[in-house]
Amino acid sequence: MLHYLKKEAEKAERKAAPAFIENVSRRGFVGGALAASGLVLAVHIPGASAREKLTPYPTGGADMPHGYGSASDPHVFVSIKPDGSVTILAHRAEMGTGVRTSLPMVVADEMEADWSRVSIEQAVGDEPLYGNQDTDGSRSMRHYIQPMRECGAAMRQMLEQAAATKWGVDASRVRAKAHKVVQLDDAGNETGETLGFGDLAEAAMALPVPARETLLFKTPDEFTYMRKGETKITDLHDITTGKAIYGADIRLPGMKYAVMIRPAVLGEKLKSFDPAAALKVPGVEAVHEIEGFHEAPRKFAPLGGVAVVANSTFAALKGREALTVAWEPSADHAGYNTDAFFEEMSETSKKPGKVIRDQGDVDAAFANAKTVFSEEYRCQHLNQAAMEPLVAVARVADGKCEVWAPVQSPYGAREDLAKALELPIENVTVHMTLLGGGFGRKSKWDFMIEAALISRKVGGAPVLLQWTREDDMHHSFYHTVSVERIEMAFDDAGKVTGFRHRTVAPSIVSTFAPDSGYQFNIEYGMGFVNTPFEVPNVRCENGQAFAHTRIGWLRSVSNIPRAFAVQSAVAEAAHLMGRDHRDFLLELIGSDRILDVKALGYPEDFWHYGDPYESFPVDTARLKHVINVATEKAGWGKELPKGQALGLAAHLAWHNYVATVVHVDVKADGTITVPHAVTAMDCGFYVNPERIRSQVEGAAVMGMSHALYSGITFKNGAVEQSNYYDYEIARMSNFPKVVDVVLVDPQPGRNAAGVGEPGLPPFAPALANAVFAATGKRLRMMPMGEKVA
């Protein structure tokens, strides 16, 4: 049944690269300083304030699967009823970022709609129509601000044209304003004649979409909703009253409830099972084997196992408890023990690895150094552990498949569902519910394929497949385990002359292609080859490490270990050399400049978050600025009581410049607490500062979870943690009490960066640096534990 994956695996072997990598932009980067495009020309309309032409800048959105689709087309994204009510489609997944509000708000603002008359409709998975829907990689705003502004501006101009035609006046004599079009006289004053959007809807929608180059956009001072931070998220009332619909809240007539048992160790196969006892549990209706896919690379295939189908979730759970199941052992992964694996990775990190970036003569720099710094930093596996466990409702009947799920990639899921079920893709529908958190796990649709297979096994009845929290802990696509070694060579004057970074970690590629033990350009692009230090000799090496579990991505991905290692090492080296950490970090970043990445020896296939470099050139002045803003706001250098200190870290990811200062207060019993943190962020153009702040506040909490509490360990191939009692995340009893978020005002020409992920990486190293400053204890392992020994 799952032979489509075999075909894909063969394809992957030939290309030695997963499908999604093929979609990543590989265009060459342009060296040297190149200002990005931006605001170019303001056009004054008689009697009205400015609208402006905007030169589009390229992003990697065009190179994602199905590109932008018809995302700029109001016929696809906007509908207006005769009563004037407006519906705007949300095509990306809502998992807490606010995107279901923020992107439609962009459309509404540009088209001059009144937000109180706008309702939001969630699109189904249909990328050829809507454009790419992979809601991860901090891409939604970064890639869709432009198309959504175009969509709104086009709709506004169509409404204006319809009004001009109705009145028989020139288009320059009309102007859309607050859900209606007003008529202007020769002097540009309002005549008092108006037409509501509802009156114009039919005529406007019959017009062709204006060409991109004829579109005029609102100037920022004209924004009604964008950049104000006053628009509440669209689901706020439903969330606070229990009406919001998440994956498990779908109810269909005749729906069954199912749970599954899956193999504890990757590669284990079902040997036998006895359903008798399970079938005796009241409410249990069926027990079925669900085929898995056992050859690497597994991509997002189900692991296989046994499904228990019942008339309630509880009956299904009781049935699963009663099951007897035997597994064939896993030849390749039963020996996976993370403790031992760390020692292997550590040894690997001490030897030269595959050279990924080489600038100057690092060997000479270290040979001639007066002082050498060398330390390694470790990160345990992490689980995304969203509050909503995986769940999907599927109905596979009459040659059709319909699935409702909290999924980050509805169209990728739809394509694989079609292949797995051998149905034409037009017979497969994927509905996105709200996601109770995602963090990367819900980009992988194994749970949806499982639900569909179960529905088919029970004759097409709709089935709600519920993963338990234990299932979620045991069968994730884990954030990788890693050792990062940072070495610095200092000359007689105390200047850093050499910088060597070795990374050793199983790669995400292993999930998609035969495992070479090496990482790939996307992982190299996340704070490894692109540490923006002004050091003459730099080498970045990758040591081999093979995967023994399914490696996936978790909010901010490889930036987590890289920021932890590099930003801890800088603080350690500053201490070693008797320097102030902030001064030393600013000195390492060096002069104000746009990085010429070719001259710096970046690899040919350097991955700049999938975007053309010239649209998001790296500007060291912006990084230094957020460091200065954050440290000044936090009172860097101030006297603090015993046991308290500030720690700093800065990191650039998704073109977003972030600096965090964490104030720790280490209690008498060694408990690490954080009364205050400051994050300064320069994300370029933005539209919803309120949701940026909420995500940065949340990133601090997640950063604290990773720094102190959360770690997935393996013993004999199986995950040792089962639930939130042993995979702990921060609780209100110990979290960063006050997080101040300082957003740098958007400057012309600085394009919209990603926001959802970049707040996370600096937090853990800032915390570790603060703990060292407070106690003299250096923590080089995440999680560090809640108490300093």
């Binding site: 606070t240 009253t241 229990g242 109810r251 509050m387 929290r469 909420s694 949340g698 209100m732």
Partner: protein
């Protein structure tokens, strides 16, 4: 047979008396505002009121509810305007929102008991409710805000 009220309505259940209220509410009563997060009473997503007091419905059986009043997020206030709900909206607390039914029910229970909780009391009472998006700063502030209006 267990008999109890759910949001003021009389109900009875003659199935397995060991059924957690969580699954009764979601699968039998169709009240999906109460969320499953851990099944072990360690995350708080399933928090409801039993005779006005916050309990974890994933570890509270139907049998334990016999003769008692069950209140879920759907029944906290007829228009959804309990001071806690209003405070949550005022401060834009939720991100993904999945844990918020439980957070709100926990906060409402706290404020019914203690109308002027200290910061530490809020922290202590709310520490059993996990939020993976990390909304704790706003949750804490919203409980404080709601305390003025209870």
């Amino acid at each position: 047979m267990a008999t109890f009220t759910v949001n003021g309505e009389n109900r009875s259940f003659d199935g397995d008396p060991g059924t957690p209220l969580l699954w009764y509410l979601r699968d039998e009563a169709g009240l999906t505002g109460t969320k499953y997060g851990c099944g072990q009473g360690v995350c708080g997503a399933c928090t409801i009121h039993l005779d006005g007091v916050a309990v974890r419905s994933c570890v509270t059986t139907v049998e334990m509810a016999d003769g008692k009043a069950v209140t879920t997020i759907e029944g906290l206030h007829p228009e959804g305007d309990h001071p806690v709900q209003k405070a949550w909206r005022e401060l834009s607390v939720p991100q993904c929102g999945f844990c918020q039914s439980g957070q709100i029910m926990q906060a409402a229970s706290l404020l019914a008991e203690n109308q002027a909780p200290s910061d530490d009391e809020i922290t202590q009472e709310m520490s059993g409710n996990l939020c993976r998006c990390g909304c704790y700063q706003r949750i804490h502030a919203a409980v404080r805000l709601a305390a003025g209006g209870v």
